[in-house]
Subunit: 464 residues, 2 copies
Amino acid sequence: MQNDILMRGRAVLAQNVLAPEVLAQDLNADNPSTALLVERLTALDPSDAAAALLVLPRRRAVAVCDRPELLTAAEVFAALPRQEAAAFLADMSADRATDVLGTLAAPLRNELLARIEPRTRATLKQLLAYPVDTAGGIMTTEFVALPETTTVAGALAHIRTVEQSRETIYAIYVVDGEQRLTAAITLRRLIAADPSATIISLSAGRPPVVVRSDTDRETVAATIRRHDLLAVPVVNDAGHILGIVTVDDVLDAIIAETTEDVHKFGGLETFSEPYLQIGFLSMIRKRAGWLCALFLSEMLTASAMQHFEAELERAIVLTLFIPLIMSSGGNSGSQATSLLIRALALGQVRLRDWWRVVLREMPAGLTLGIILGTIGIARISIWQGLGLYDYGPHWMLIATTVGAGLIGIVTFGSMAGAMLPFILQRLGFDPASASAPFVATLVDVTGLIIYFSVATVILSGTLL
Amino acid sequence: MQNDILMRGRAVLAQNVLAPEVLAQDLNADNPSTALLVERLTALDPSDAAAALLVLPRRRAVAVCDRPELLTAAEVFAALPRQEAAAFLADMSADRATDVLGTLAAPLRNELLARIEPRTRATLKQLLAYPVDTAGGIMTTEFVALPETTTVAGALAHIRTVEQSRETIYAIYVVDGEQRLTAAITLRRLIAADPSATIISLSAGRPPVVVRSDTDRETVAATIRRHDLLAVPVVNDAGHILGIVTVDDVLDAIIAETTEDVHKFGGLETFSEPYLQIGFLSMIRKRAGWLCALFLSEMLTASAMQHFEAELERAIVLTLFIPLIMSSGGNSGSQATSLLIRALALGQVRLRDWWRVVLREMPAGLTLGIILGTIGIARISIWQGLGLYDYGPHWMLIATTVGAGLIGIVTFGSMAGAMLPFILQRLGFDPASASAPFVATLVDVTGLIIYFSVATVILSGTLL
């Protein structure tokens, strides 16, 4: 059977993947063929991809498994012979092995863990315990740590021997006698330094930048960006280094966060799977939740309309502009929300700045409302003037109602859209949960009330 | 006068910024105090920040100017004495100096450039010519390039001498006799290698991963992520290396792209300035454009309503559900759009997959429509049953109309929302231009027509 799978693997490689001379090449971190290989294998049936992995040169097969772009990793590992799957996991970087294990069914995960040697198994089990959106969930344990008294020459010699098994060697972590992190030295600094100096003498004298294992991955990304780091150490309360998060993991984390934010803003629970691989039921579940919640809230519009039924019957012409007016409120609201979500995410605006935001959005909303109101009045006047439609003898009053309604609704929409992310953040939610549909729904009900109230004032005694 | 500004700088530093013992510390790339200093200076009045820069230790002042987080850089440079401003620019990394120059008014930019020594000036002028959202616009020219025949020991010796003036030394670029890029070697590989070997012998034998100067920054980011690089070289048609884009610049570019995408999805032109620094007129201009375009399109709803005026007058009860039905179409559309925008951006779905997307969205939309339709029918039946509102003798037909209308509109909304990003990409636009308000507007007009058509069929002979 083992022979069968190897023959199949050879056939798969020969037909689908890459020329043998490319595969035989020395593996290099930035060898472009690895990324290509990952893409080809992802597109294959998982059992074919598993067979191919078995016949690839060992280091290259591990390099392929190490890439998060191997989207079918869970299926591929399920299709591999157990012993081989465990061996790959043990050789992969600990953070990626953890991610793969996390996507496997619990019985298979435990079976594979049992086949891994105890020390690696302990590391993986520990990493599996951290939530995926925290520093602990994206960190790896393969870093270079050395005692303070190591010389520069000694450090370089050590780095040469461990280079292959470390995620990065560009940051070297210095620990004291109690294994507490005291400094982070870059390789740049190390190779430019006097070989006989101790590594601790290269430190800036200030505590290094660190994060905790429960730090949110967005904060980790912001920390790495803020200090232009290639990796940030993760420490516990005692100051011991638990692992490191490298910049490439942060890049992946930022992409995942962006997807999450766009999905939330579109008004649905986020999906981590690629679109075409989302199961039908999961798709319905994650969309129906918000859609129903919004639908139930939007039912208030029907109640509001029922409340103004008398006005509606007397001036049916008012209904013609309901969709136009409501959508303008929703649109101006979603503009303001998208502006403030990003401003809050980037730290350009803080919770205490809400009042300054009000002072900006109020005049902006008013100005935008006046612009749309003017267009609305012009539309009614032109249609009436050209005889395209007859709004009746009171068409000027109707135009005034529509114009004034637009000013009120666009101002309210801008204010409500801008404040919603603040309110959510204040209540402890992610401000990015303020979706465009959520804002639109919020503004719709109020918009109708504003419109009919304006109509009652302007048209009372004539149409109403 | 020069003395005045120095005294003021000292006063500013003493009052606002950091303790003198921190400022006197040796500068280190990951010294946390630099990031803090940048934040403090950004919050100051630009002329105070400029004065402070003049009294800071030279290397630290340059390090501060080098940070993109110094958001007020344009104002600070305008407030600096000309000669000092030019000197800072010459010492900053070329990519950051270019960014700062790009934000200055043209007369000041030219004056400062004229004071920079000719070679650096030529580099900066060349970099200024590239659009900001391309590889050329974010690359720097401070990289390490060496001839193929250099030995490993020679390369390491060279790196030690140039280390301080290079943006990264973790990637070493190998050029042939005609200065064409032939390989990229990582520092990891170099320090682990035999010192007497030539650097070209360390190459994987395949051409290195490269981008062109006009490559979109999103593609540059995807390339760096795909190959887990710390930097990617930018080459011209002849294969000469023009510069490099480092991973920290890519991180900044991704954040900028995310902001752009969220702003677009919210239905406005993007802003690069922080929210509180956007000028009022610029704010109105960038929001009013889309708002007016959407308003004009949404006017079609008024036309559609006018078309169905006879039906409206006979069955005013139908108007009660217009906002509810329209918003459901818009919400399901913006869900589908946000899903597909990300799927396209991440390459999970390609243009040719549109048909597979239709086959997923059609049943999903139908199912979601049935769920909302059922809730809608239940709402009318319960209100009628409990006597909360009287929808008249034909209330069951009205409930059926609302339910059937919802199924049609939610299905159409999901399909339209999913297809819009494809259509935009096919027409050569960014699929992320498919904003939530845009989708809602598209669905609103069609939604009204669907609703009234369903009503005509179901209610004809009774209410209509």
